[in-house]
């Protein structure tokens, strides 16, 4: 039978390829490095490995104990997809600003404030398609205000936006009181931001689009290069003629605008706004950035890293919930992860490799 001769042939091919690879290897240093080292050398490579390892363990666990550990159940995957976008939007904005060398602690409060603003406008009869852009505009303006104060007076943005955090949290209560606001937009609006497309949650599609867009903006566009230069070495950037104040101002605006976008996604999902819902989110967003490999001193990091940081936080939260761990374990786990990530990043920075 001719088919019986096929297996030996295959083996022959397999024996040829390794020899080729061996003879080609010494030519360049990068080829000699193992794939593992190559991935570690890429931006966000280390976080990618951690993320993949966690996924493999989770998927293996779910396949072995499908009834006890329902990681792969459709319900769980939907919960994950719904949870990621809000923190994702906040972290993308906060991350761009962090790479530019500044912080924004007010995004959690801005997220709530703009959501309340949008929901109450819709409650007053305004179309959601008008109210949502107005919410984003409010977020952008608040970001610009934070930036102006920081730059004009030469203050640390940490302090300015700490003020912002308290101010806008108070503004929510002043404007609305401590009651929840119902959000009843047109059905088209709801399905656009919290419906499903081909079984995938709409908000998740949005966050993926944002990640792709931000990736191109930061890593493939002139503006991104200026952001890295501003955060990496402000003196050098200015010496070469980059207007670093303008770059920072735009980054502040992006952080504020993305906080408002997060507010829209969250509000469309739940159908109402709680005045206290944003508390602590700003810290989670910064945590996601740090886990994703951003330097607290600015100038380093990647959009993919930020997104992986967000995914990692939510995967771990999800796993702990599935294992029915008490709530305080979540915080302790995330806390450990942040510190470990910061130590790891610091070691990489000192070695000068990123």
């Amino acid at each position: 039978m001719p088919g019986r001769f096929l297996p030996p042939k295959k083996i022959e091919c397999q024996t040829v390829t390794p020899i080729l690879a061996d003879s080609a290897a010494p030519r360049s240093r990068t080829q000699r490095q193992s794939i593992l080292k190559q991935i570690m050398g890429m931006p966000a490579g280390a976080i990618f490995l951690v993320f993949m390892a966690l996924q493999i363990v989770c998927i293996a666990g779910a396949l072995l104990y499908p009834n006890e550990f329902r990681y792969l159940s459709p319900q769980n995957l939907t919960i994950l997809m719904k949870a990621v976008p809000v923190l994702g939007c906040l972290a993308l904005g906060a991350g761009v600003l962090m790479i530019a060398g500044e912080f924004d602690l007010s995004i959690g409060s801005v997220y709530t404030f703009t959501a309340v603003l949008m929901a109450s406008l819709v409650g007053a009869g305004v179309s959601a398609f008008v109210a949502a852009p107005l919410g984003i505009l409010a977020g952008v303006l608040i970001g610009l205000l934070n930036g102006q104060i920081t730059i004009r007076f030469g203050l640390p943005s940490f302090i300015v936006t700490l003020g912002g955090l308290l101010f806008w949290r108070g503004a929510v209560l002043l404007y609305n009181g401590a009651v929840q606001v119902r959000f009843d937009p047109e059905p088209v609006f709801t399905s656009l931001f919290s419906g499903t497309l081909l079984g995938i949650n709409a908000a998740f599609i949005w966050i993926v689009l944002f990640v792709v867009g931000f990736h191109f903006l930061l890593h493939r566009h002139r503006f991104g290069n200026h952001v890295f230069a501003t955060g990496g070495n402000r003196g050098a950037a200015e010496a070469i003629g980059i207007n670093t104040n303008r770059v920072k101002l735009i980054a502040f605006a992006i952080a504020g605008g993305m906080a408002a976008v997060a507010g829209i996604l969250a509000t469309a999902r739940v159908g109402s706004v709680q005045p206290g819902q944003g508390a602590g989110l700003e810290l989670q967003a910064i945590a996601a950035c740090v886990i994703g490999g951003l330097s607290l001193r600015g100038g380093r990091g990647s959009i993919i890293g930020i997104f992986l940081g967000v995914l990692l936080i939510h995967t771990i939260t999800d796993v702990l919930l599935l294992l029915r761990a008490p709530g305080f374990y979540l915080d302790m786990f995330i806390a450990t992860l942040i510190v470990l990530a910061a130590i790891f990043n610091h070691l990489i920075e000192r070695r000068g490799v990123a």
């Binding site: 240093r29 191109f216 493939r220 566009h221 002139r222 503006f223 290069n225 200026h226 890295f228 230069a229 955060g231 990496g232 070495n233 003196g235 050098a236 950037a237 200015e238 010496a239 070469i240 003629g241 980059i242 330097s295 100038g299 380093r300 000068g352 490799v353 990123a354």
Partner: protein, 243 residues
Amino acid sequence: MSNLLELHNISKSFGALTALRNLSFHIGEGEVVGLLGDNGAGKSTTVNLISGIHKPTDGYLSVDGRKTLFTCRSDSADAGIETIYQHTALVDSLSITRNIFMGRELTDRFGFLRQAEMREIAMEVLQNAVHISGIDSPDTLVGNLSGGQKQAVAIARAVYFKKRVLLLDEPTSALSVRETEALLNQVLKLKAENVSSVLVTHNIYHAYQVCDRFVIMSHGTKVFDVAKADTTINQLTDYVVLT
């Protein structure tokens, strides 16, 4: 024939402090000038003035014989003057390519980077314009380079953007012996391509190796201006130390 850059009776005061007094000197086409002097002689103020960071209190600069006023860094850059500071020139967390094109990126109509093109140019500049040992890829992060390699990248940037005068502020103070040698050769090579250089330094020996002319400053003004042929290293040392 007019000189490339001239300083005419320049004075600069910061409040009650007079940093420069009645300073005049010139830099010719393809000339390497050593600006020497002890600490506090006013060298850095002079560099900042030429690169447009400071404005003169009195007096003026002229480029190609035309009186000009530099109000900011980009004015001097437009006139073809590139200042290479020791520490502030490059961003460590960006690649060599991105540093070379920082602020002057090649982009398409929408501002997206033409990465392949920039990478190719960077590769060419690194291989041909400046010979830097140990750099194998323009994708290397500048933070991984040595002091001399960093300066070579900064020079490569100036060369690619066709600058006419390089102001090198204390270029050799952080370099190894071999790197210093490479840097000084680089200056001579640029001179052959008609690029002028100003070496601001207090290392007279390094300056003596490559400079055509020496301007010695003390207490904010020029005390000596001499061509290399008319002086000796001992005389230069005396002027720097004793005035």
